[in-house]
C-alpha cells in the first residue's frame, strides 16, 4: 500500500475547517459539565441521603455506560418520545449539536464530580479544625479553606478528563455533525484512502492535546507555586 503525501496536503486544510466545531463541542460541554459536576459533588458530600443518593445514581449511570451509547440514546432515543417532540426542549434535541452537547456534558459531569470529590476529601482535617477554632462557619470554611486546596489537588486529574473529552467529541461525527472527524470520514469516503486521512487526523488531535496539556501544566504550576523551591 503506497502512502500518498499529496492526499495529506489536500486533506489537512479541509479537516481543519472542522476545528471550530470540535472546539465548540469541547469548550461548551467542558464548561457546562464543570458546573454540573460542582452541583453533583456538593449533593454527593452533603451528608443528606435525599441529595446524595440521586447524585450517586447519576454518577453510576453515566460512568457505567459507553458514551457512544449515551449519544445514540439522546439523538435517536429521545425523539421517539412524543412528549419530548412536543415540548419546549425539542429545538435543543432536534439539533444534532444540542444532542452532542447534552450527552458530552452529562458524561463528563459524572467523571468530574468524582474528581472534585477526591480533591475535597484530600484536604487535611487539621486545616478545617484550625478554621473551626478561629470561628469560621461551615460555608466560610468551604469557600476559603477547602475550595482552594481541593482545586489544586483535583487539577491534574481534571486536566486528564478535559483531554479525554476532546477525543470524545469525535463521536459527534456519528450523529451527522461535521466536526474534524466527520469531515475526515467524508474525505475517506471520497478518496478511499483511510491511512493517509486518518493519520493526518490523528496528528491534528495530538497537536491539540499537546496544547491543552501545556496550558493545563501552566495553570498547575501557577496554583502550586508555593510548593516550588
Amino acid at each position: 500500500m503506497s502512502f500518498d503525501f499529496t492526499l495529506i496536503i489536500d486533506a489537512v486544510p479541509k479537516i481543519l475547517l472542522g476545528i471550530g466545531l470540535t472546539f465548540q463541542l469541547l469548550v461548551v460541554s467542558a464548561v457546562l459539565g464543570l458546573v454540573l459536576a460542582i452541583g453533583i459533588m456538593l449533593m454527593r458530600i452533603s451528608g443528606k441521603w435525599y441529595l446524595s443518593w440521586p447524585a450517586q445514581i447519576y454518577i453510576y449511570i453515566f460512568r457505567g455506560t459507553p458514551i457512544l451509547v449515551q449519544i445514540f440514546i439522546v439523538y435517536y432515543g429521545f425523539p421517539q418520545l412524543e412528549f419530548i417532540r412536543e415540548s419546549f426542549i425539542w429545538p435543543l434535541f432536534r439539533d444534532p449539536f444540542g444532542c452532542a452537547i447534552v450527552a458530552l456534558t452529562l458524561n463528563t459531569g459524572a467523571y468530574v464530580s468524582e474528581i472534585l470529590r477526591g480533591g475535597v476529601m484530600g484536604v487535611d482535617r487539621g486545616i478545617l479544625e484550625a478554621g473551626t477554632a478561629l470561628g469560621l462557619s461551615v460555608r466560610q470554611r468551604f469557600i476559603h479553606l477547602t475550595s482552594p486546596i481541593a482545586i489544586r489537588l483535583a487539577l491534574p486529574a481534571y486536566g486528564n478528563d478535559v483531554i479525554s473529552l476532546l477525543k470524545s467529541t469525535a463521536l459527534a461525527s456519528t450523529i451527522t455533525l461535521a466536526d474534524m472527524t466527520g469531515i475526515a470520514r467524508t474525505i475517506v469516503a471520497q478518496t478511499f484512502a483511510p491511512y493517509e486521512i486518518f493519520i493526518s487526523l490523528a496528528i491534528i488531535y495530538m497537536i491539540l492535546t499537546w496544547i491543552l496539556q501545556k496550558s493545563l501544566g501552566r495553570v498547575e504550576r501557577h496554583l502550586g507555586r508555593y510548593m516550588q523551591k
Binding site: 425523539p79 444534532p96 467524508t186 475517506v188 483511510p194
Partner: protein
C-alpha cells in the same frame, strides 16, 4: 480373497480421499461485503438470516461459478477501503458503477438499475423540480437534505446543487427516523427501497416522492454491479458470465419479484 478385499478397500479409500481433496480445493470461498441493514437489498430477517435482492444475486452467482460464500457486514462509508484491505473479496451491496469508484476497484457487469429519488413531506410549499424535471436551486434553500455518506446521491448533490444544506448519515435507517422527527426536510435514496421500507408503511404517511427518478449516468453510473479488487480479470470474467446467465435464465426477474412488483434490471445487459 482376503487380499483382494483389502485391495479394493484401499483403492476405494484412496478414491474417496482424492475426490475429497479435489472437491475441497475447487470450492473456493468468496467473502462478500455488504451493509446487512439495507432492506430489501441486503438485510437480516427477524431470525437473523441474511436475505434480500443482493444476497439472492450473490448466491445465484456463487452457484454458477461454484464458490462458497461467507458474508461480512461492513458500514457503507468503509466498504471500498475494506475491500482494498482484503477484508473481503467481493462487494455485493447495491453499489453503483461510477467513474470515481472505477479508479480504485473493478466492477462486474451491472445486475440492477441505479437510481435516486427525493422523499419529503406531502405538502411541500414549493416544488423542488420544474416541469422539465430540472431542479430549482432556490427552492432548496432552507431545506435540510439527508443523505448516506459516500453515496451516489452525495456526489449528485455536490455537483448539481452544491449550495444545498446536506446532512450526512452513516446508514440508511437513521434517514427515515430523522425525516419523521423533522431533523431533515427531505432525503434522497433508492426509490424501490423508499417505497417498500417507508412510504408503503404507516410511518410513511404524510410523506411522498418530491422529485422525479434521477439516474444521470455521470453520477449514478451504468447500474449496480459486483465490486472486486483490480487485476483479477479471470474472476471478473466469471462474474460477468454468471450475471448474464442469471439475466438470460430469468433469475434476476424472479429475485426482483420476491420484493417488488417489477424487475429492476435492464434485459439488454444479458446480451452478447
Amino acid at each position: 480373497m482376503k487380499f483382494t478385499t483389502l485391495r479394493k478397500l484401499t483403492i476405494g479409500l484412496t478414491a474417496v480421499l482424492t475426490f475429497g481433496t479435489a472437491f475441497g480445493a475447487s470450492a473456493e470461498t468468496l467473502r462478500v461485503g455488504m451493509e446487512c441493514t439495507y432492506a430489501p437489498f441486503n438485510y437480516r430477517t427477524a431470525d437473523g438470516e441474511l436475505t434480500g435482492y443482493d444476497v439472492d444475486v450473490a448466491k445465484g452467482v456463487a452457484e454458477i461459478i461454484g464458490a462458497d460464500l461467507e458474508y461480512v457486514c461492513q458500514q457503507w462509508d468503509g466498504m471500498i477501503p475494506a475491500l482494498l484491505a482484503n477484508k473481503f473479496d467481493l462487494i455485493v451491496a447495491s453499489m453503483s458503477i461510477t467513474n470515481s469508484r472505477l479508479e480504485k476497484i473493478d466492477f462486474s457487469s451491472p445486475y440492477r438499475d441505479s437510481v435516486g429519488r427525493l422523499v419529503g413531506k406531502s405538502n411541500m410549499e414549493k416544488p423542488l423540480f420544474d416541469a422539465a424535471d430540472k431542479p430549482i436551486p432556490e427552492n432548496f434553500t432552507g431545506l435540510r437534505i439527508g443523505l448516506e455518506r459516500a453515496s451516489t446521491y452525495e456526489s449528485w448533490f455536490n455537483a448539481i446543487l452544491p449550495d444545498a444544506d446536506i446532512v450526512l448519515y452513516d446508514g440508511s435507517e437513521p434517514l427515515y427516523l430523522d425525516l419523521v422527527n423533522g431533523r431533515v426536510d427531505a432525503i434522497m435514496t433508492n426509490p424501490m427501497k423508499a417505497h417498500l421500507r417507508f412510504l408503503a408503511k404507516e410511518e410513511g404517511s404524510g410523506f411522498e416522492f418530491v422529485s422525479p427518478a434521477i439516474a444521470e449516468v455521470e453520477y449514478f453510473g451504468t447500474g449496480v454491479g459486483i465490486g472486486l479488487r483490480q487485476g483479477q480479470s479471470e474472476l471478473k470474467a466469471s462474474l460477468d458470465g454468471a450475471i448474464k446467465k442469471l439475466i438470460n435464465d430469468g433469475k434476476l426477474t424472479e429475485y426482483a419479484l420476491k420484493y417488488f412488483p417489477f424487475p429492476i434490471h435492464n434485459e439488454e445487459w444479458g446480451d452478447n
